[in-house]
Subunit: 285 residues, 2 copies
Amino acid sequence: MIERLCIIGVGLIGGSLARALRDAGSCRHVVGASRNLDNLRLAVELGVIDSYETDLARAVAGADMVLVAVPLGAMEPVFSAIRGSLAEGSVVTDAGSAKVSVIEAAHRAFGRVPEFFVPGHPIAGTERSGVAASLPDLYRNRRVILTPLPETALEATRKVRAMWEAAGARVAEMEPVHHDEVLAATSHLPHVLAFTLVESLARLHDKAEIFEYAAGGFRDFTRIASSDPVMWRDICLANGNAIQQMIERFITDLQVLDQAVEARDGERLLQIFGDAKAARDRFVH
Amino acid sequence: MIERLCIIGVGLIGGSLARALRDAGSCRHVVGASRNLDNLRLAVELGVIDSYETDLARAVAGADMVLVAVPLGAMEPVFSAIRGSLAEGSVVTDAGSAKVSVIEAAHRAFGRVPEFFVPGHPIAGTERSGVAASLPDLYRNRRVILTPLPETALEATRKVRAMWEAAGARVAEMEPVHHDEVLAATSHLPHVLAFTLVESLARLHDKAEIFEYAAGGFRDFTRIASSDPVMWRDICLANGNAIQQMIERFITDLQVLDQAVEARDGERLLQIFGDAKAARDRFVH
């Protein structure tokens, strides 16, 4: 049981965790913190949090669990703001989509990576954002990756794992660098491709017509291009090396395909498309 | 009213049109034709067609409307097979995803582009294929593009338009070359990207893990990579020039983004992602 959960950044990710833990009866009091007072009032109205603070130092005082669910670029200032005010025995975790950069931010803010800090990443979300989009079952059967370091207290990792499991998630542990590579492949690259495709098509001179004749596949394919641009800018800045590697690998593979199209090499095209379909069908089933 | 509709290629596209026209009472008899006897028997069982023929010449005899819904690579042999057997006054249309190549195939098979042939393309489909996946409302409020030529009989175009409208579709007309450019952008490029991404990730050495940590966005983004590889090989062969242009334009845009990531240029990234989100949100609403 968490006595007092402090959620810094009450949006889709933080709000959904609060809803899930309240539904599960795993948390006595949720205090929300953010710079946006209207958002905090809305979160109270929606029953997502019990109370709020706009001052981060006051928000974490007395909390036994703190979740930092802010864009990656805001992690370090948040860590610095709460540094002197955490309660004895308090555990801090985060929900950032890249882990090495968050660990570095914690190192800079705290002067070391504190033993009470458990880097984490729930693999869930929608293209929508904000507390109004939060859902109590967002994490049900979804993966959460924790990337504890050798200096992380086992008890802190245990508590964070229990929290996510109470929200319905399946928790795994991974090296931070490996996490960032896996996510660059499965999440960051697809988002970059979807953003680039839509932006590229929007610059065609007959763009109104282009989108008019787009079908359902296009809608699905580009759904993730409706995601929050600030969050994705931060992810590209934070996990730039791994993302660049994936982009450049993808460009090479796309050039191979382009050459097969140019050569009208039906056999090669069928092989690529067939391998993709087989992998996609295995992934779904 | 269509007295006798002949559907050559009783799959998702042809089967869905038959279902829609039967539901609308716009068609008295549907004869299905394909090389696959099991598929034809299934189509009768499912109530999609009334009868079937495996011989294409016999199938079109007496039909006042013929829909050729086969992969692009099979268009020319089908046209050649039906050439001598079409009834007087019969109208022929097709459902190919590229139009210039189908017109060229018709020209080769018939010795000219016949006045009774109306090139067409329903912008609808799912990643599934086969008659079992066919749906009576697949075309409801979806676009169908017809690309009649100067030599096409107005009456033939009128009949094909009426047929698709009876199935619930909104019909537009377009120049064949322009159709192929628009579709290369909105459909062919996204499919190529999805196939390439999934095939690329499947070649990573830790691919099992890669797919294990993929989230909902990845599932949507790659849904179209489950599409029929033969159909997409044929599309890439048939509309190769327009597709190559779009691939190469996309690679250039992706290189720009890659450079922004390398330079950690947050402003540029925010601009690209913001423009994409705005265009995507406009397209959906």
